[in-house]
């Protein structure tokens, strides 16, 4: 039994590691063979078969930007509410927690349908970076809030009691003590949400759309990196090489955000963060 368990544990770990290595290696080898840095600075030609992905990178960044502008203030507010006001409003806090739990489980394609119905059609934004960013914001909100709230909960109780005993109001306490303390968690939560949003495809197909030209404003449609990969592999015959290259760019971006997360976590605020 002991040997069996040990064997199976090592076996599954080995298989998983092997598959990950194969997957990443396949994508890197196949794209590095033709990779050239001009790929990052050129416009896509003939449906993406030739040329680069410059406008697509810009669209992706714009979508992420819209998403973060919404998430950071609203998410921080909700996290503060959940952690600081749970004694005064237990019922509301309960409802909000349930809602966040449901939100984090809703399939991304349903977010896509919802974003299409609300932002594109009902509010008349059409296929645009606005629609895509706002849909993504609602989608990655739970992850951000959970990270920030867990962080705020590590603040020692004294930090709240001492200002009160000195006659400082709640607002002052939150503004000058809680929020500065929570700042690293906001950064970590932001980085995690960026990673989640970069990975998203299904919610963006019918909110931010397919157009692979350079977006002129936020109400233009813009194609995200993940959609570009999907489109090149499924709808464009002969788009494989560029799909490989785009996949590598996306993986590198995800690695960077993941690495950033670890670095922030490990070194910058070493003493405070316990996750």
């Amino acid at each position: 039994m002991e040997r069996m368990t040990k064997f199976l544990a090592w076996l599954s770990a080995g298989i998983l590691l092997l598959i990950l290595v194969l997957m990443v290696q396949d994508i890197f080898v196949n794209s590095l063979r033709h990779f050239d840095f001009s790929f990052l600075s050129q416009d896509p030609l003939s449906g993406g078969r030739k040329g680069g992905i410059f406008p697509i990178i810009i669209s992706t960044l714009l979508i992420l930007g819209v998403c973060m502008i919404v998430i950071v203030p609203m998410g921080l507010g909700t996290a503060l509410f959940l952690s600081e006001y749970s004694d005064e409003h237990p019922k509301v806090v309960h409802i909000v927690r349930k809602a966040l739990e449901i939100l984090s489980g809703v399939p991304s394609i349903v977010f896509g349908l919802f974003g299409n119905a609300l932002f594109c059609v009902f509010l008349g934004f059409g296929f645009s970076i606005w629609s895509g960013g706002l849909t993504l914001a609602i989608m990655s909100m739970p992850l951000f809030i959970r990270t920030v709230e867990e962080g705020i909960r590590t603040i020692p109780k004294n930090y709240r009691l001492v200002p009160l005993s000195l006659g400082l109001g709640r607002t002052t306490t939150i503004r000058s003590i809680i929020i500065p303390y929570a700042l690293p968690f906001v950064i970590v939560g932001g980085v995690l949400s960026i990673g989640r949003s970069l990975a998203e495809t299904a919610a963006l197909i019918f909110t931010s759309g397919y157009v692979d030209r350079m977006p002129e404003s936020l109400s233009d449609s813009g194609r995200a990196l993940s959609i570009h990969i999907y489109d090149l592999t499924m709808n464009v015959p002969g788009g494989d090489t560029n799909a490989y290259k785009t996949a590598m760019v996306l993986i590198v971006l995800i690695f960077i955000t993941n690495g950033l997360f670890t670095i922030v976590l490990k070194t910058w605020y070493k003493k405070r963060i316990i996750l």
């Binding site: 396949d26 349908l113 119905a117 009160l164 607002t171 990975a199 495809t201 993941n258």
Partner: protein, 287 residues
């Protein structure tokens, strides 16, 4: 908390934060309302036709969704069957068999699996896995391909959930068990896992929910033919893939039908989350 006098700005902040907090609840409500609103015409017009029509020919007004519901269920159950042992044993590996310096890197590997975009899984599946399956039995884009790729995507949920449960409460019992001369495996199989039954089921249900909602990966490797599968090598189309494929050109009744399938998914996942929540709420270690 212990504040006796409240200033005006404290009231303002409190109400602003409360309203802001309620936004998440409003968002859930909005999702439900909008998806339902858009699917009402189809429910109104077609009703039970969704389950008794001849097939899925949206352009001819035939909307039978049963083959796609079957596709979703087969592919996600299959993935769950593969992912459960993978998740369980990799959690055991990290918590008990990996030596200190190995545990952390391997944990990062599992987190990386969780963080990789589904479109990358789908892309790799289409480029490497599908041709391999095609050699065994054509066409390659099949239920099996979907199961294999999905299993890789959902096992981290089980691993990370179980590890969170392994860690905090079990250290004490583990030491006692070791001091009694038990072997690791005896401890794992007869003490740890039996006490975590509910949590394991909860994690599995969560993983199932994720598998059912997954779109891009299954869309790319499953072949997308609307037909009841008769073998594991048959191509299938899932509910999610169907929405992603047809939303681009769907009009009127067809569009509404797609929203209806989205509503089915939303409700299914809602039920699954509630059930998982119920299971995971159980106390894990009884003193």
């Amino acid at each position: 908390m212990y504040q006796l006098t409240k200033k005006n700005k404290d009231f303002i902040l409190e109400s602003v934060l409360t309203i802001n907090g309620l936004f998440s609840a409003i968002a859930v409500g909005l999702i439900f309302i909008f998806v339902t609103r858009e699917s009402l015409p189809a429910i109104h017009l077609k009703g039970w036709a969704f389950f008794i029509d001849k097939s899925w020919y949206p352009l001819e007004g035939q909307f039978n969704v049963l083959p796609m519901i079957a596709g979703t269920i087969f592919v996600s159950l299959g993935a769950l069957i593969l992912a459960s042992p993978l998740g369980l044993f990799s959690a055991i590996f990290i918590s008990f068999y990996a030596h200190g310096s190995l545990a952390w890197p391997f944990r990062r590997v599992v987190e990386l699996y969780a963080g990789l975009p589904s479109v990358i899984f789908g892309f790799w599946g289409l480029m490497k896995l599908v041709p391999m399956l095609n050699e065994i039995r054509p066409p390659g884009q099949s239920l099996l391909a979907g199961i294999l790729i999905l299993a890789l995507m959902i096992f981290p949920i089980i691993t990370l959930n179980l590890m969170a449960n392994f860690r905090p409460s079990s250290k004490k019992y583990y030491r006692v068990a070791l001091s009694l001369g038990m072997r690791k495996s005896t401890y794992i199989w007869s003490i740890l896992l039996p006490s975590l039954k509910q949590q394991i089921v909860g994690a599995m249900i969560l993983a199932l929910g994720r598998a059912m909602g997954e779109t891009m990966a299954v869309l790319m490797v499953c072949g997308n033919i609307v037909k009841m599968p008769t073998s594991i090598f048959d191509p299938i189309r899932t509910l999610t893939a169907n929405i992603a494929l047809e939303m681009a050109y769907a009009m009127n009744e067809h569009r509404s039908a797609l929203f209806f399938t989205g509503l089915i998914l939303f409700l299914l996942i809602f039920v699954l989350i509630s059930v998982a929540d119920f299971w995971r709420r159980h106390e894990s270690w009884k003193e």
